[in-house]
Symmetry: C2
């Protein structure tokens, strides 16, 4: 396979990744609404730790756990914002 | 749906996201090997811009384009590292 073939594959993967991240954001939004109605805190370090543990358990490479966690730290960071402001 | 139901849904989504990010990393690794053999540069700003444009085009919310790009900047950053060192 040439670089252009791999890039076509990456583009296809990105479409799926964007779709799943969007679904994850919808779920985060729904949780944000429940939390706001119930006056619960947005920031829940224990739950975030659970997500990182889960992601690490599911990671089988080629990324190291630290690299996968790096990506997930950004995802969680953005999702926390969504719970605060409710998305675009 | 309660918070616990949404979290179960998020855990399922995370498993799929981790799998797709891993596949993306494998493709980045393959491209990295081709580049190294052909003495091509790892950093290709034009291709990275293409990825961001594509992701923005595919984003239909609830994340803003800036939020989705924030996540993708981290993904691209990690993938660039994979092309340099070849993953774990």
């Amino acid at each position: 396979m040439e670089i252009s073939d791999w890039r076509r594959k990456i583009d296809e993967l990105d479409e799926q990744i964007v779709r799943l991240i969007s679904q994850r954001a919808e779920a985060a939004q729904a949780i944000g609404e429940i939390k706001q109605k119930a006056n619960l805190p947005i920031y829940e370090p224990q739950r975030e730790q659970q997500v990182f543990d889960h992601v690490r358990r599911k990671n089988s490479g080629p990324l190291s756990d630290i690299e996968m966690q790096d990506i997930y730290e950004r995802i969680i960071d953005v999702m926390r914002g969504v719970q605060r402001h409710g998305g675009k």
